[in-house]
Assembly symmetry: none
């Protein structure tokens, strides 16, 4: 799957270009094109902001019009937050990622077009695109940072590509066997009973059930069952130690 090309139209701050390269790298996008960057190209400040995503910046191509930058693309979506007078299809970033993915699957070359900070995109450039992507911004605060706009779309692309939950940190260990869990519950109940926890005694059934339910939700592993039994023993052994110590003291007294 060749990821979408990112085209920035007349970007102003080199820092923003670097930040865009960084998020592209975060989400597996690699090809960045600039249309008439305000301060020329290359700009050192972009590399400083890219946090090591140098290969994206090193590969940047510069064009003097959106039309030139998109010449080899089959599908280009314009990312714009503002409603425009257009009859082009408007997609969410998620829908756009899906559409671009489908096109890529058909060996088409696809891209996403982003406007300048504040100024946004010209209607004439939007008209060159095959569709519009609108990020669902809160209308009370529409000013979205350029790199954030790229990030949202790149994230949707990568989520789609992975289409799988993130790897669990460790192959999650299974919960302990029922027998081990039961042994733990009975150990706890025995010690609680010795400590006079279940009173009146006819409440034993409901109280122990509640304890089993609340602990059971954790799904303790075999190791964790052992740990928790250690906890029970430690708390209740206090008694044993105190007993020993007192017995010794008694002996000395006697």
């Amino acid at each position: 799957m060749t990821p979408p090309v990112v085209i920035l139209d007349r970007p102003q701050m080199a820092e923003n270009i670097g930040a865009v390269a960084r998020v592209m790298a975060n989400f597996g996008l690699t090809e960045l094109r600039l249309v008439s960057p305000r301060d020329g190209w290359p700009q050192e400040r972009a590399w400083a902001m890219a946090s090591g995503a140098d290969w994206v910046l090193d590969g940047v191509q510069v064009f003097d019009s959106v039309a030139a930058a998109m010449a080899d693309l089959n599908t280009l979506f314009a990312t714009t937050a503002r409603p425009r007078e257009t009859r082009q299809p408007v997609r969410t970033p998620r829908e756009a990622a899906r559409a671009l993915y489908d096109d890529t699957g058909s060996r088409l070359k696809v891209g996403l077009l982003f406007g300048a900070e504040r100024a946004g995109l010209e209607t004439s450039d939007i008209a060159l695109c095959q569709g519009i992507v609108t990020i669902p911004i809160d209308p009370r605060h529409q000013s979205l940072n350029l790199a954030q706009a790229v990030a949202i779309n790149a994230y949707e692309w990568r989520t789609l590509i992975l289409d799988a939950p993130p790897p669990n940190f460790r192959e999650a260990e299974p919960p302990a066997s029922g027998a081990l869990q039961l042994g733990m519950y009975e150990h706890l109940e025995r010690e609680l009973d010795a400590a006079g926890f279940f009173h009146p005694p006819e409440k034993f059934r409901s109280m122990s059930q509640n304890l089993r339910v609340m602990l059971g939700r954790s799904g303790f592993t075999t190791q964790e069952v052992a740990t928790f039994r250690g906890v029970i023993t430690a708390l209740s052994k206090g008694r044993g130690r105190v007993l020993e110590r007192l017995a010794k003291a008694q002996k000395t007294d006697g």
Copy 2:
């Protein structure tokens, strides 16, 4: 729907705090909390970067620990890209938004925790959380900007809100507040410490973390926290009772 609280743990650059406030406003999040910001608070540079999202910065609350910042929250997810040895549930930002949305629908107070730039989150703070959110970063370029991490999660929240699915109301009682959970952990650790459970002493940190994670997965309700504290007291009070009984016996002997 009260959107998730955003907690930044030990943020370094005021510019990043401002950028976080900006994307929060973009996606309808409003409540920002800082834990020990490196350069103190307030910082003018944050406002300069917020692009008008002043109400988020004006409402910032500062805490001196993650535990304090999460005291009133029922559900807090830690956002971290790094694999950790933990058996806490790991969610994508999309799954996390859904889970938080469901909890919010049940009138729970929810939040997202983000680590410091580069340094990330302490394992001990992750252990206080009810789950982990992992953004699907390309492993070849994992360095994700703080505001971008917030943006992805905030975007998923807003996308979900706009789709306005009916929340999956919890039939069950909500988990206890962070403060109550922490109080329970500390109670357990105190009694275990008194019983000599933590040996050698330098193991205290990792052992207590493991206990917090394994018990935290259960999501004890307020009632269950009380029950479990009763269990701890009963097991460790055995000592007191035995002491009393023996003291009495001693007196009789004497």
